[in-house]
Symmetry: C2
Subunit: 671 residues, 2 copies
């Protein structure tokens, strides 16, 4: 990507010192971190009703109790996280809390579960946004995957522009949706109380309010499944605890306040919508073409075709499409924490031009796009996979907090006070509740797709461990243990360097001359080598070598099969044998051309690519590195003036005493 295009898309680079000014105020943070959680109210009620309808329309009333139960769970989890936020002011996501208190294993489980869930969040919410768009404009249906990928690309670019800018941008749809839902609840409740529900056009109501035949009884399993369906409303609650460092100072206070505000809004909206859904004669059906529950509620509240009804529809569409933004805010941050602990590639810790973890953002967009393509951008294919990871991380994080409080008491040695007991109880109760819900989710959704998550988590953990093992190996290879001092002074090495150096030459010209002069400045032990693919070319080279009186021995390697790599490696191994020190393998000097355009590059022999590959394979096989010196020669600019040519011009200048070049034992190489 050219610099200009990059500037246009993501803006000018920000200096590291500006990081503090990129922090989020509470209103912006609410927009960034709550769009995921709040958007789930657009479908959570429907998820409950669609399960209950199997027991006939009479069973739908139970939804109100389920909604209240979920709201209660939400409040418990929120307070539990509120405590976490204050205990871990530098970011208290499930990964940190579990790792700190339960150990590395549970930490990695939480990390894997959360990463998977963030990816699913993006895929699900963008797909849901596309579904809303397609139900408004059915002509887009054949393009659903393309539209979804464009939305992902758009969110990616906004996030690459920086945390603050995405906060500003995403504030609009989030607050528009909040306003719309609250207006709907206020007007709707007023209508229910006063009994003034507007008439709805017959088409819109086809089949509405008709009693549906029960397919079976209202079993406990059904109620639990309905409960599990509604629990998607809780996803996104952990987002704030991961994102504490993005808040303005004092971070914990602001994050805690944002959490409470968010949960207040969320539970009101969820219970309110479920109440209205129970008060109007809705159509609840799996049939394709049935309007969503939330749009039916809006139609009964505002009246069909009114301006406000359309406003509400569009606000829903936007919040659903952009809910993915919360995952974009959290995933890169979590990935960078994991990478800091060396369980993921180090590049994920790099701050990009705009002080965000660009590599994490791009990775998330990439993987989510693949999921969207695989699942055909249809969110109902993805929903069963969703939420399992969240509840696993909830459970681990809150169990971790319980351990945390015990450790705290042990460290400070105080007797169990009432406030301490309350803290333990809150986190413990939270852990218990989410643990139960986790099992409900797993059991009721296992066959539909939750098994895929149960399989993916161990796979991701295996990758974590593999990456970690590699970084450990690297660290072990590089350790300076046992070396107390490294007083490398140039003087102590200056005794005539006998390290073998080989210059590859094809013909004698200014470029090879430059390389040869470079070599002799470096070592007393320089040879040139040419690989004979065509005998006439080599004879020509040898003749010129003699004629120009080059004072460096020229070796010729025969290559009957016109290869370059293998004969060269064989030759180097021979020289390595003769090296005065096995720690000093033969160094290779490659003269190369610098040309300015891609097509000029194509015009030059690609042999250096083959040589590089051969040297790389040899290093792998030998278990030792070999230094390679590229001496580039710029084509088309001023000529390189060989030192030797200038020396001729001042031929009578006093020649300095030559350093001995005899292969004697010397201080540097004594062993």
């Amino acid at each position: 990507m050219s610099i200009n295009m990059r500037r246009m898309l993501i803006g000018r680079p920000l200096p590291t010192s500006e990081a503090i000014h990129q922090r989020l105020s509470i209103p912006k943070a609410l927009a960034v971190f709550s769009s995921d959680a709040l958007s789930s109210t657009a479908y959570a009620t429907e998820a409950i009703l669609l399960v209950l309808i199997a027991a006939g329309s009479g069973a739908l009333g139970v939804s109100m109790w389920i909604a209240i139960g979920i709201a209660a769970l939400l409040i418990i989890v929120a307070f539990s996280y509120y405590q976490t936020i204050h205990a871990y002011p530098n970011g208290g996501g499930a990964y940190i809390v579990s790792k700190d208190n339960l150990g590395k294993g549970p930490g990695l489980v939480a990390a894997a579960a959360l990463l998977i869930d963030y990816i699913l969040t993006v895929a699900v919410s963008v797909s849901a946004g596309v579904a809303a768009l397609v139900s408004a404009f059915p002509e887009f249906d054949p393009l659903r995957i393309e539209v979804a990928l464009v939305i992902v690309a758009f969110i990616t670019i906004v996030n690459l522009r920086g945390v603050k800018e995405s906060g500003t941008f995403f504030a609009i749809p989030t607050y528009a949706f909040i306003f719309g839902v609250f207006a709907m609840i206020a007007v709707g409740v007023a209508r229910v109380v006063t009994g003034t529900v507007p008439t709805v056009t017959p088409e819109a109501l086809e089949g509405a309010g008709h009693a549906t035949e029960a397919l079976g009884g209202l079993t406990l399993f059904l109620v639990l499944r309905a409960f599990a369906g509604g629990c998607t409303a809780l996803t996104g609650v952990e987002a704030i605890s991961n994102g504490i460092p993005a808040f303005k100072r004092p971070e914990s206070d602001n994050a805690g306040r944002t959490l409470i505000i968010m949960v207040g809004i969320l539970s009101t909206m969820f219970v309110g919508i479920t109440f209205l859904a129970n008060s109007f004669p809705l159509t609840v059906s799996h049939e394709p073409g049935t309007a969503t529950v939330i749009s039916q509620v809006a139609r009964y509240t505002f009246g069909d075709g009114t301006l406000f009804f359309f406003y509400f529809q569009f606000a829903t569409l936007f919040i659903l499409s952009l809910a993915a933004n919360t995952a974009f805010a959290d995933f890169p941050r979590l990935a960078s924490l994991i990478a800091q602990d060396r369980f993921l590639p180090r590049q994920l810790t790099n701050l990009g031009d705009r002080l965000v973890f660009s590599n994490g953002i791009i990775s998330l967009a990439f993987v989510a796009s693949i999921l969207i393509i695989i699942f055909d951008a249809r969110e109902h294919n993805l929903l069963p996979l969703y939420a399992v990871g969240v509840f696993l991380s909830f459970t681990l994080s809150q169990s971790g907090m319980v351990v945390h409080w015990f450790k705290e008491r042990k460290k400070q040695g105080f007797a169990p006070t009432l406030s301490w007991r309350l803290k333990v109880a809150l986190n413990g109760f939270g852990a218990l509740c989410t643990f139960v819900v986790l099992w409900i989710l797993l059991i009721t959704k296992f066959v539909e797709g939750a098994w895929l998550v149960a399989v993916s988590i161990p796979v991701v953990i295996f990758l974590f461990l593999r990456v970690h093992k590699h970084y450990e190996d690297v660290a072990h290879s590089l350790t300076l243990d046992g070396i107390e001092s490294a007083d490398i002074h140039p003087d102590s090495y200056k005794t005539g360097n006998r390290q073998p150096v080989v210059v590859l030459v094809n013909s004698l010209n200014r470029s090879s001359l430059q390389a040869l002069e470079f070599a002799v400045r470096f070592s007393d032990n320089v040879r040139a080598v040419s690989i004979s693919v065509e005998s006439s070319a080599v004879e020509n080279l040898q003749a010129r070598w003699k004629k120009l009186n080059v004072g460096i021995p020229l070796d010729v390697i025969e290559s009957p099969y016109r290869e370059i790599g293998r004969p060269l490696i064989g030759y180097l191994h021979e020289l390595d044998e003769k090296s005065p020190d096995r720690n000093l393998p033969t160094t290779v000097i490659l003269p190369e051309f610098v040309v300015s355009t891609w097509w000029e590059k194509l015009l030059h022999n690609q042999t250096s690519v083959a040589i590089r590959e051969a040297l790389y394979q040899d290093q792998i096989a030998r278990g030792r590195g070999r230094a390679v010196i590229n001496v580039p020669y710029r084509i088309g600019d001023e000529l390189y003036e060989p030192v030797i040519a200038r020396k001729k011009a001042v031929v009578s200048a006093p020649t300095p005493e030559p350093v001995t070049s005899a292969p004697s034992v010397n201080g540097t190489h004594a062993s």
Copy 2:
């Protein structure tokens, strides 16, 4: 491609010394070089008849005269080329002959024309093969492009296996087709003479023999168009003159003999088929679904549904698909000649594993495949482009021969003898005939597509010249003109190397220690530099540097925008300023890791890629090269043992007299 897969597809590598054993005998050469020319008899007669039918079926009789005219032209061209083959025993294609006698310009025109025509030959003949296949198995019609590309890939692999093997392989279809056509002519002529034409089923004959209404009169233009259509029979005649070095010794004699045999077979087949086509009541029509003329002739000759009829159909299908092979034999050879003269990329002169010009073969396959895709694998879209290039090169080559004879006489100073006059007359008449046909082709086919060739030839010539200009610039940059002696002796440089060397470090470990030790062996003027992206990491490095007492100055570059490239380049420019000699820019040492798998590579910071790119751009901008030393450290094998560590062990070893490192003027750098 892995070595094993390569072995399987194209066979074991052949040593250069085996080249002589890869030469072709006359029977194999006939198969390789004539498949293109002979296969054209499968459609040349039809091409004539389809033009004449516009003047009504009564006009078809003219085709016999046109065929005889083309056969005469063929024999003239053949004898003209026979002379060329003996005059240029090392390969006398149109490019060489025109360049030698008419100059560089006409040579390049001939080269461009021939290259384009070879590409068209592949596209046309493979498409014609697919058409024959599809008329037999219509279910392949939707896959015509895929089938065509598979055939191209197959011919490519056979050719990569070597000249001799492809000769063996392609002998089968070529001789099968020759046998089939001769059998058909013999039986057909016997039937015509005895009047025993077998009955043909009514479906096959629908509309056959019915007089067709004339659309217009039999104008001269129409006759010329018919003649032009039939001239495709001449394409491929120049193949042998390009391929002389592929023949067994004596090359010219064998090649000449092969040419005469080929032309004899070709003209007999062409005239014979046209005669039979005039003797049977054929359907000649542009309607889709009409059987080809040659298959109608075969049906009348052998009888519908007979075994021999099927044999003939399959032989036609094979020769058409594989006629492309002639182009594969010639294009790479011609391209390598042009590349030797530096008008095409040098890589085209490389002999591959199997002693063929692999890069030329692959280039031809690639470009022809693109043409096949663009023209939808339908040969009638491509035919109008065809043959123009061939006749242009015929004309140039034979005009060149006329000039050649005059030069020859001038050089040897003999009076014009009768045999000399005959030679000039033969080539001159050949040149005149082909020149006239060239104009007929251009005029009658211009609108249908020949204009595309007229446009492409100058474009290709422009590319030739552009490539040539580049190689000239390179040669100029590299010239040793003005340098009489290059007696580089290590001793003359050993006066304390003051060339600035910079080692890039991120942290102090065995890898950076290895690089530092490498640097001090090379120069007295070594610095280390670290680019500060994260201040804590740099402070850590500085502390360790001090603690381990590293005797090399460590510079730190601040990078507020977390870039690597730009700050590094700025720093290097500063050091360059301070260099004792502007011919010695600062050398950069990059410690790097050697890991064995692709995923391990992904785990390491990609900064070295960014550094390389920055250094490359800087070299372009400065117009000077800068040496870069990679000091690789193999991860996971035995540890590198720093020299310094071993030195400590023998702490009392006598320290040799240090070479002065003061920046004094010295012999090497005096200017």
